[in-house]
């Protein structure tokens, strides 16, 4: 799992049928100190995260498909938690 920060949303009307009605968020990857690494990913949201929030992200296909309960979904990145605080030496 990866730490990320939601930096915005993407709107799309013409898309694959699985993505009908799904929220798509732009998530910046963070390092352990909370600094952006420069990488980003577009992920679907399961926890009602909003822009500016630090989130927990899965970027692995089988785990993501297990969460949405659809073994044929063309899906890899999914937000599974909202992070309150990170303590790291």
């Amino acid at each position: 799992m990866i730490i990320g920060k939601v930096s915005g949303a993407i709107h799309s009307t013409i898309n694959h049928q699985f993505y009908e009605g799904k929220r798509l968020l732009v998530v910046d990857y963070l390092d352990k100190k909370g600094e952006p690494t420069g990488e980003y990913v577009i992920a679907i949201d399961t926890v009602d995260a909003g822009a500016g929030e630090t989130v927990l992200l899965i970027d692995e296909g089988n785990s993501a498909r297990q969460i949405v309960g659809d073994s044929m979904a063309p899906l890899r990145s999914i937000i599974v938690g909202i992070i309150d605080d990170i303590h790291c030496e």
Binding site: S7, G8, A9, I10, H11, S12, T13, I14, N15, H16, Y19, L24, V26, D28, Y40, V41, I42, A43, A51, G52, G61, M72, A73, P74, L75, R76, S77
Partner: protein, 101 residues
């Protein structure tokens, strides 16, 4: 998924079984501010709606093949949808949200 810009189309004359009639596009990967990042690649278009210069989002690796019908095809990038709007924020020094375009 990442953002990409359609640069053109590609028409193969012979393809592997299962890929007949599947549109193929040349896609330039972009960063979140829609600036070019990396080298272009070929992606299939299972939604069959994409045209040149369109802003899209694409999926890579095995998930790309799952977007196709039939799904067990040799594909490593697939366009999933057309982007209408990218709405980004940025934090100022007081951690307040500023909108950027």
């Amino acid at each position: 998924m990442h953002l990409g810009r359609i640069m053109g189309t590609l028409t193969p004359c012979v393809v592997y079984k299962g890929l007949e009639g599947m549109p193929m596009l040349i896609v330039q990967p972009l960063d979140k501010l829609c600036q070019k990042k990396g080298n272009p690649f070929i992606a299939v278009d299972p939604i069959r709606m994409c045209g040149k210069d369109e802003l899209v989002y694409y999926e890579s690796s095995r998930e790309a093949a799952l977007a196709c019908d039939p799904w067990f095809v040799p594909v490593d990038h697939a366009v999933i949808g057309i982007v209408d709007d990218v709405n980004l924020i940025k934090m100022d020094e007081n951690q307040r949200i500023e909108e950027v375009k």
